[in-house]
C-alpha cells in the first residue's frame, strides 16, 4: 500500500463530493491509496485504486492484468486436448471443476456421450473440490480478518487430505489434468474409493470444530455482519453467481437448473442467505460443504462399475464438427463456462472462459463504499477470487 498525497482538509459540508476524475484531481479532499498488487490480503496480484476520506472508502477501482497471460489466445493456438492442462491453471484451487467445465463444453460441441461411471467420478471429484475450496477460502478469510494462521492451518490440514486423494488418483495435487472429453483419464480403484469415503466421513468433524471456532465468535460477527451488503437485484443484474449470489437469497444453482452430470440423481438442498452480507457469504460456504458431504455419500453408494472413457472419442487429432457451444457448471466460485467455436479444425476457432471470480468483482466497489479500509479486505476475501482465473 502506498499513499500518494497527504494533505487532508477538515471535512467540509459535503463530505461525499467526489472528484470527477480520481487521477486528475487530487486537491486534498480524498486520499488516494493504491492497495496491492503485492499485498498478501489481495489473494495474489490484485490491485485496487481506493479513494479514502479518513478511513472510509469513497471510491474503489479494481485494476487487473498483473497475471494476464492471454489464456484464451493460448487455447486458440493449442489443440482441444492441449488446452486441458491449461485449464488447471485458471483457478488453481479447483482444477477438477475447471477440467469438467471444459470437457462439458467440448462434449456439447461435438455431441459426445460420457459413460455413467465417469459422470459419477466427476461428481465426486467436483464435490471434493468444493470442499477443499470452501475450506481454504474460510481459512483465508479469517486470516484476512486477523485470525492469523490457526484457522487457515486447520483448513489446510483438511484440504491436504483431499489433495492427497487427487494426487493418488490423477498424479498431481493441484494440476490434476484428470478429465478428458468423453470421460476421465484413469479409473479410481477400490482402495481409492475406500480412502475417499474415510476422508469424507471424517470431514464433518472438522466442520463442527470449525463452526465452533468461528460461528459465534463475537469479533467475527462484528467484523462481518452488515458489512458489504449486496441486494438481490444488483446481484442478478451484475451477473454474480455462486455462493455470493445465493447469500443474497437468490435460488440459482446450476447443478439444479441445468442438471448437468448426474446431479438430478442426488438429493441435496441449496442453502440460501438472507442479508447478502459478508457473514452470510461466509456461512453459505459452511452450509454448502455440508450439502457436498451429502452428495458425496450418495455418490459413493450409487457409483456403478464400468468404463470411464467413451471408446469412440479420439483424443489425438480431435476435430469437432463446425458449430459453437457454451457449457457451464456450478464451480465452487460460481458459474464457470467455456464458450467454444469450432471451424472444423483441430484447434478451437474461439476459446473463451467465463471466469466467475472476475465477474463477481464487478460489484466490489458497490460493496465497499462507505466501509473502512479494513473492511475492504474482509469483503474481498468473501468474494473468493483467484487471480489465475481473474486475469487469465
Amino acid at each position: 500500500m502506498s499513499a500518494t498525497i497527504q494533505t487532508l482538509e477538515p471535512a467540509a459540508e459535503q463530505p461525499t463530493r467526489l472528484p470527477p476524475q480520481m487521477t486528475s484531481r487530487l486537491d486534498g479532499e480524498l486520499l488516494e491509496v493504491s492497495m496491492g498488487p503485492q499485498h498478501p490480503s489481495t489473494h495474489g496480484v490484485f490491485r485496487m485504486n481506493v479513494a479514502l476520506e479518513g478511513e472510509i472508502v469513497r471510491k474503489l477501482k479494481p485494476v487487473f492484468g498483473y497475471l494476464h497471460r492471454n489464456h484464451e489466445k493460448i487455447g486458440e493456438n493449442t489443440s482441444y486436448l492441449g488446452s486441458m492442462p491449461y485449464t488447471d491453471r485458471l483457478d488453481y484451487f479447483c482444477s477438477m471443476t475447471n477440467n469438467w467445465a471444459y470437457a462439458l463444453s467440448v462434449e456439447k460441441l461435438a455431441g459426445i456421450e460420457v459413460p455413467e461411471r465417469a459422470e459419477y467420478l466427476r461428481v465426486i471429484l467436483a464435490e471434493l473440490t468444493r470442499l477443499q475450496n470452501h475450506a481454504s477460502l474460510l481459512g483465508f478469510l479469517l486470516s484476512d480478518m486477523g485470525a492469523w494462521g490457526t484457522p487457515l492451518m486447520y483448513a489446510f490440514r483438511e484440504r491436504e487430505k483431499i489433495l492427497d486423494l487427487f494426487e493418488s488418483l490423477s498424479g498431481s495435487r493441484m494440476m490434476c489434468d484428470y478429465m478428458r472429453f468423453g470421460g476421465c483419464r484413469v479409473d479410481a480403484g477400490v482402495d481409492w474409493m475406500k480412502l475417499a469415503k474415510k476422508i469424507v466421513d471424517f470431514f464433518p468433524r472438522f466442520l463442527d470444530e470449525f463452526e465452533n471456532l468461528i460461528v459465534e465468535n463475537e469479533i467475527l460477527i462484528a467484523r462481518t455482519q452488515e458489512v458489504g451488503k449486496l441486494s438481490a437485484e444488483l446481484a442478478i443484474n451484475a451477473g454474480i453467481t455462486g455462493p455470493m449470489l445465493r447469500a443474497c437469497g437468490v435460488n440459482y444453482d446450476i447443478r439444479k437448473v441445468d442438471g448437468y452430470g448426474f446431479y438430478p440423481r442426488f438429493k441435496f438442498r441449496v442453502p440460501l442467505g438472507e442479508h447478502g452480507d459478508t457473514y452470510d457469504r461466509l456461512m453459505m460456504r459452511v452450509l454448502e460443504m455440508r450439502e457436498s458431504i451429502g452428495i458425496l455419500k450418495q455418490a459413493f453408494e450409487q457409483i456403478p462399475a464400468g468404463p470411464v472413457m467413451n471408446p469412440k472419442v479420439k483424443i489425438r487429432a480431435f476435430r469437432p464438427p463446425v458449430g459453437e457451444a457454451y457449457g457451464r457448471i456450478e464451480g465452487p466460485k460460481g458459474e464457470l463456462g467455456f464458450y467454444l467455436i469450432s471451424d472444423g479444425g483441430t484447434n478451437p476457432y474461439r476459446y473463451r472462459v467465463r471466469p466467475p471470480s472476475f465477474i463477481n468483482l464487478t460489484v466490489l466497489e458497490d460493496l465497499c463504499l462507505g466501509h473502512t479500509v479494513a473492511d475492504v479486505m474482509v469483503i474481498l476475501g468473501s468474494v473468493d477470487i483467484v487471480m489465475g482465473e481473474v486475469d487469465r
Partner: protein, 222 residues
C-alpha cells in the same frame, strides 16, 4: 422457454425497426443465436430483460469473436447448353466476405430458470474504430466483459461508462486477441531449444549462446 422464432417475433413487434436474424448453429449443441442490428440492440436487450414472459435477467457471458475477411467458394450446378445439348455444369463463384468483429452475449433467466438465449452484434468492419452499442446500462455484468472485448479486440462500445483497457496495460497499442495479431519480435520469451522467438530476438540482441545451446544442436546436425 419460447423458441428463437417466437422471441424474434416478439422483439420485432415490440421494437419497431429492429432487424433480427437467426444465426443457425450447425453443430450438435443446438445453440442458435439472434443477430441484432446495432441501433436497436439496447432496446431489444431491455425487452429480453423486462418482458414478463422472457425475463432474461442474467447476462452470463459476453465475448468477442474476430472473423477475418474470407472468400467463399460456391459451387452451383447450372444447366447450360453446350454444343446444342443441355448439360449440368458446375459453376464456381467466389464471393469475398468482409471480416467483422462480433460481440456475443449469453442470457439466462434467473426468474424462470431458462436459457440460454444468445445474441450477437456485428461491427461493420475490422478497422480500429469499430463500434457497437454497449449493453452495460442494461446489464451491469457486461461492464468488465465489454471492457475486455475493447481491450483484446478493439471494439468500442458506445454508452459504456468506463471504457478503458482492463487486462493489458494502458500504453499497449495492439489488440492481442485478433486473429491477425503478431507479437513484436523482441517480446519477452522463455527460450526453449527450438524456439522461433529466439530466432527473431537474435535480430535485436547479440546472441547469448550460453542460454540454451540450440545453436550447437543445429550445427552438429549439418
Amino acid at each position: 422457454m419460447e423458441s428463437l422464432e417466437q422471441i424474434k417475433a416478439r422483439a420485432e413487434a415490440a421494437v419497431p425497426g429492429a432487424k433480427i436474424d437467426i444465426v443457425a448453429n450447425p453443430g450438435p449443441s443446438q445453440q442458435s443465436s439472434l443477430l441484432i442490428d446495432n441501433e436497436h440492440a439496447v432496446a431489444v436487450a431491455k425487452l429480453l430483460r423486462d418482458d414478463p414472459a422472457l425475463r432474461f435477467d442474467f447476462c452470463s457471458n459476453v465475448t468477442g469473436v474476430d472473423w477475418l475477411d474470407r472468400t467463399v467458394k460456391k459451387t452451383v450446378k447450372v444447366k447450360k447448353v453446350v454444343d446444342g445439348v443441355e448439360k449440368d455444369v458446375d459453376e464456381t463463384t467466389e464471393e469475398k466476405l468482409p471480416g467483422y468483429l462480433e460481440a456475443v452475449y449469453h442470457f439466462y433467466s434467473m426468474t424462470h430458470k431458462h436459457g440460454p438465449v444468445i445474441i450477437r452484434m456485428r461491427t461493420a468492419d475490422r478497422a480500429d474504430g469499430a463500434r457497437l452499442s454497449s449493453l452495460t446500462p442494461i446489464y451491469r455484468s457486461a461492464e468488465f466483459q465489454e471492457r475486455e472485448i475493447f481491450d483484446l479486440y478493439g471494439v468500442r462500445f458506445d454508452g459504456h461508462p468506463d471504457l478503458r483497457r482492463i487486462l493489458m496495460w494502458d500504453e499497449f497499442v495492439d489488440y492481442p486477441m485478433r486473429k491477425d495479431y503478431r507479437e513484436p519480435d523482441d517480446y519477452e520469451y522463455e527460450p526453449t531449444p527450438h524456439d522461433d522467438v529466439l530466432e527473431k530476438a537474435k535480430q535485436h540482441y547479440s546472441p547469448r549462446p550460453q542460454l540454451d545451446g540450440a545453436e550447437n544442436i543445429t550445427a552438429q546436425q549439418q
